[in-house]
Symmetry: C2
Subunit: 203 residues, 2 copies
C-alpha cells in the first residue's frame, strides 16, 4: 500500500493511522515546499494537487476523511464505533475538521485559493489565531476522555491530532485548553505518532 | 424526526434525502436572513450557528455529511454503495464538497469568517466565479452516468445537488458542463427535490 504524503500536512492523519495499525505500507514523499504538487506529473495522480493520496488496487483515492474510512473498512479495523450514533458523532467531528478547522488554518499560507490581493492575504493571515482558537474551544467542549470519545481512539482522533500539530504555528495558546492538551499528550505517546516522527513524517 | 433547516443552505442536501426516502419528519425553519442562527437560543442547539441540525433521540447532530451517513444507516437505506471502494469514492466526493466546493461558495457571503476588511471581502467575492467554476470542472470529470456514479443516486448526489442550487448565483456558466447540467436535470425530476421545492425549502 502506497501513500503520497508530506510532513506538516493533513496527511499526518493517515500516516499515523497506518503506523498505529501495523499495516505494511510505503510512504511516497511529496515535496510540498518545492511545489511538486503543482506539477503535471502529480496532477496526473491527483488533479486537486493535494496530499494525502492513497494508491488502491483501483487507483488513487483522495480526501483524508474518505481515506481514513476506507482504511478502517479494509485494513485497520477497530477505530470506528459500532453504535450508529457514536459513529455519526465521529463523522461529525471529521466533517468539522475538514470543512472548518483545516480551512481556518489554510487561510494563513493558502489564502490565494480564495483571494488575489496581498492585503487580503495579510488580513486572512492575521485572523488565523482567532479562528483556530475558536475551533480549539469547540473541540475542547467535545472531548470526554483521554481521546475525543473516551478511552479508545477513533478515526477522528487521528484527524484531530494532525491539525493539532499546526496549533503552535497558528498562534494558539494550547495551554488554555486542558482537555485538548491532554489529548495531544496521549496521541504523542502512541506508537503511530512515534513511528511517524521517527520516519520524519512529523517534524 | 426533526431537522433545523433553511432554503438556500446546504441543509437542502438533507431535506431532499428525507423527502426522497419517504421518512416521516418535520422541518424546523431557521430564519438565516434574520440572523436567528446567531442568537443564544439557537447556539444552545448548535454552538456553531449553522444548519442543518438533526434532532436524534440522543441530541443534536450537525455536519451535513455526518447527518446523511446517519440517516442512511438508520432510516434511509439504499444510498450507500456496498463495495468498500465505491463507498470510499462516495465519501471522497462528500469530503471534497464539504471542504472545498462549499468553502469556495462561502467566500461570497461569509468572508467575515476569515477576514475583517471590506476590501478583503470584495476580493474574495470577486474570485468566487473562478473557484466555483474550477470545482464544477473537477466534478464534471467524475460524473459517469445520470448520477455521479451511474444510474442510481448515492448520498453524494444529494450533497452535490444542494451546492448546484448556488451555481447560477455564484456566476458559474453551468451550460459549459454537460454532465453536470444533465445531473441537475435528473435531480430536479426526483420526488425529493420536487417535494422540497413545493414545501418552500428550495427557492
Amino acid at each position: 500500500m502506497k501513500l503520497y504524503c508530506a510532513p506538516r500536512t493533513i496527511s499526518i492523519a493517515v500516516t499515523t493511522l497506518l503506523y498505529e495499525s501495523g499495516i505494511h505500507w510505503e510512504p511516497i514523499r511529496v515535496d510540498i515546499a518545492g511545489g511538486e504538487q503543482t506539477r503535471p506529473d502529480y496532477h496526473a495522480i491527483n488533479p486537486k494537487g493535494r496530499v494525502p493520496v492513497l494508491m488502491t488496487p483501483e487507483g488513487a483515492l483522495t480526501e483524508t476523511g474518505a481515506i481514513l474510512e476506507y482504511l478502517a473498512e479494509t485494513a485497520a479495523p477497530g477505530y470506528v464505533p459500532a453504535d450508529p450514533l457514536a459513529r455519526a458523532r465521529m463523522r461529525e467531528v471529521m466533517f468539522y475538521l475538514a470543512s472548518t478547522m483545516h480551512v481556518n488554518h489554510a487561510h494563513k499560507m493558502r489564502g490565494r485559493r480564495w483571494a488575489n490581493e496581498e492585503a487580503s492575504l495579510a488580513d486572512m493571515t492575521a485572523k488565523v489565531p482567532q479562528t483556530m482558537t475558536a475551533s480549539c474551544a469547540y473541540i475542547e467542549s467535545l472531548i470526554v476522555g483521554r481521546y475525543l470519545f473516551g478511552a479508545d481512539p477513533t478515526l477522528a482522533d487521528f484527524y484531530l491530532y494532525a491539525i493539532c500539530t499546526w496549533l503552535e504555528g497558528d498562534g494558539v495558546n494550547v495551554s488554555q485548553f486542558p482537555k485538548l492538551s491532554a489529548f495531544i499528550e496521549a496521541m504523542e505517546a502512541t506508537s503511530g505518532v512515534r513511528q511517524a516522527r521517527a520516519a520524519g513524517l512529523i517534524i
